[in-house]
Subunit: 477 residues, 2 copies
């Protein structure tokens, strides 16, 4: 009972919240209300529109069905509806013309056959991906209109008159929709896509920073107690990116119908936005893998992690900064300064490399290094690796007790979490603990490579969308 009493309050709060978050939704709802009232008034004011008569319902139907949230979606639906109606009308009249020549029985058979054929063919057409993507609604309207005209024509004599009236009312409905969508508080799909890309870039930036910070976070207790709430920011950051494909494509499709409303009247670069979205998804998958390292079965002890802590955090910070810089350059539609970005990244990568090189080594091989370094660059790499891993190992040994304690704690945690498949889990425990740290570092370097692709795509987008040149007054964000 109490739940029922609280329900209206809950609905009211949810309504207010949604309105506050995005006032455009309220505006859109009011726009639909106004449009419908206008159409209704049209019908009520009999004297001036005598000719329209009963067909006024078509204007109402058009407004209800066509008026969408963004201008692009409305134009797309309106055009689909218009085209579908027109083609269906022509075809129906053609069939009508043939059927009229014959007697009543043949006419019924002929109409039945054509309805069957047109219905089956156009339904089959809707399965083609290209038509499904672009003209699905148009085909439905075509089928609907064709059937309505064909069926009506069997009884109504003056079909041309009816079609005429109907066409007028649909035109009036479409006109009201266009007026409302283009001139009164218009919402652009292109704008929405633009903003969604910016917010995705920012989300990824936050995500990667939070992820690396959590990985190198020393305070275990905080992580374990706030497990769910502390993981949210990371997940929230990349969640929107992962499943964005269909959404992006719909927005880009609608945006391609919108008039060029930018200052320079550039053609809206839908394809570039879609490509950028795909590259961002690729970046997102790497972040998911990084995030997976936080919860992997084999955990590197924190003491070993600490060796790479600072350079990794710096690299992640640089990647995150680069993403934010890209986001803000897209937001203000200005080319960003590639050199600054890559210089900083270069520095951070160099740092990570230095950190790997400069670990205390196990002895014997270290002495060879200065000798061979200048002559053979390949040798240097070998040396680097060796130094890093032997450094890790010597430290690991010292921290051995700590390590096994950590392992036990981790095992307990795992046991609590998932009891079922203990066999596999225990087996994985036997693996080296340095492996995940290496994987983490490798994935982090991988994000830099993916960032490269993102930068390339943003550049391309900038060229196609005619972004401003990077100015000296811009500097860092």
């Amino acid at each position: 009972l109490e739940k029922v009493e609280r329900f209206p309050g809950f609905v009211w709060r949810a309504t207010l919240k949604m309105g506050n978050e995005d006032p455009r939704k309220v505006i859109h709802a009011l726009k639909v209300g106004v449009s419908l009232t206008l159409v209704t008034l049209l019908y009520i004011m009999e004297p001036s529109f005598e000719g329209i008569g009963d067909n006024a319902i078509w204007a109402v139907m058009t407004v209800v069905v066509v008026l969408e949230f963004t201008a692009g979606a409305t134009l797309c639906k309106g055009l689909n509806r218009g085209l579908g109606t027109l083609i269906a009308g022509s075809l129906a009249f053609f069939i009508e013309y043939i059927a009229n020549e014959s007697d009543r029985i043949f006419r019924a058979v002929f109409i039945g056959t054509s309805v069957f054929l047109i219905g089956a063919i156009s339904t089959y057409m809707r399965f083609f991906p290209y038509i499904k993507r672009n003209y699905d609604y148009g085909v439905v309207i075509f089928l609907l209109t064709f059937n309505l005209i064909t069926v009506s024509s069997y009884r109504v004599d003056n079909v041309l008159q009816m079609a005429h009236e109907r066409f007028y009312t649909i035109a009036i409905g479409c006109g009201i929709c266009l007026l409302m969508t283009l001139l009164i508080f218009p919402h652009w799909s292109g704008e929405e896509l633009h903003n969604s890309i910016v917010s995705k870039l920012e989300g990824l930036a936050k995500s990667i920073e939070a992820c690396v910070n959590e990985y190198f976070n020393d305070a275990d207790e905080i992580k374990e107690t706030n497990d769910k709430s502390s993981e949210d920011p990371i997940y929230e950051g990349f969640k929107a990116v992962l499943d964005s494909k269909s959404n992006d494509e719909t927005m880009a499709l609608h945006a391609s119908w919108e008039p060029r409303h930018s200052r320079h009247c550039y053609r809206y670069p839908c394809k570039q936005y879609i490509k950028l979205g795909a590259v961002l998804r690729q970046f997102g998958y790497t972040v998911v893998a990084l995030h997976g390292c936080l919860r992997t079965e084999i955990q590197t002890p924190r003491s070993v992690r600490a060796l790479l802590k600072d350079p990794c955090i710096r690299l992640a910070g640089e990647v995150s900064k680069a993403l934010k810089e890209l986001a803000s350059s897209i937001r203000i539609r200005r080319h960003c300064s590639l050199n600054i970005l890559s210089d900083h990244l270069h520095g951070a990568l160099h740092d990570l490399n230095t950190a790997i090189t400069s670990q205390p080594s196990l002895g014997s091989n270290n002495s060879q290094a200065p000798m061979e370094k200048p002559s053979q660059p390949g040798q240097q790499h070998q040396q680097t690796k060796q130094n890093f891993f032997s450094g890790v190992l010597s430290l690991s040994k010292r921290e051995q007790l700590q390590t096994s304690k950590d392992q036990l704690a981790a095992a307990d945690e795992r046991k609590m979490l998932r009891k079922q498949m203990s066999k596999i889990t225990i087996t994985s425990l036997e693996f080296s603990e340095v492996l995940p740290l290496a994987a983490f570092a490798s994935l982090l370097v991988e994000t830099v490579a993916k960032l490269d692709n993102v930068i390339t795509q943003v550049e391309e987008l900038g060229v196609f969308a005619g972004f401003d040149e990077f100015g000296d007054d811009h500097g860092h964000v």
Copy 2:
């Protein structure tokens, strides 16, 4: 001109191809054709359905709009349409009742106001995610019907009679849709979701196997020449998994409307399917990361890779086999033998571990191992790591010339591929080459952990969907 001449042939081939791939699409198209013809005949046979008159168009409209590919989708739409129409009708009559009491001017104002309010409120309601997901179509139909009745009622006197007729025709349309969708060659959303999960499992199985094979493939030339075609099978395998979220949810929603057509009349476990889909996506992200290792900037030389080749291939084979086993157990709706799965995986993991342990070591530390092994298990891990990495290193040194040659080739390839951001790319070259191999192995172990989740979810699905018990006659697939 030639292009235009070839166009019909192209369309015809595409049509045949789609029909061959999925004959259900052809059947659905024919079903729509038959339903439309039935509705049209209804209208044409005047004598028996005199009462319906002009309102026959509503039956046509219902069939065109409601009849969908799967039974669940049709039921969902039909119910939405029915509910929307019913509620709208009741509300419209209520408002009509109030408006009738007053004079003409007040009536017009009253109708206008109510149209505005109902229009704005129901449009706003459509933004709520819960309503958007479940009742979007119903709200549109509600708005449409309400406006039609309200607008018509202003002029038509006998509104009740009109509503009556309209209701009958809509009921006839819905009846035909139900008959067609449930009794004649029905396609079930639940079945489709089931099959899509099975094919996703199989796709992932293929993907992971192909990915590991390509990573350890010795023949560089083949990889480079057939670059695009050889990567396709890997990408094809997990592509369907990644962007499947909205699709899965729609199918599950429709499936939840379908009657329980299974032998045991179990409730269709939509939630379990959605959860399984989510776990599969997680698995897919790991496979994407594995796939990323194939094209990463820093490549481990093949000679070093060869050290882990066999165990990695075996582990991937086992994971792939487990996925296939799960797929086939879902397909035949039978519990799978968990023990066999985990035993084999256990063996493969153990193999990989052994491979890491048994590499030739660099000397000094090896002598300590036998002494400390029995007393301290933690020590053994350290030893393992050390052996592995020092083994890799000693081999690396021997293969140094080979390595630097490989590096040069790789650098050339990279240069050809992407010239732009050479700065970052060159920096990453300085990193250790063992890092990616460690990352690869770590990710492979990670897939086993993810496989765990998949197995858990499949088990849960099996319980909820009432799969058969695992029988002795089943064995391996």
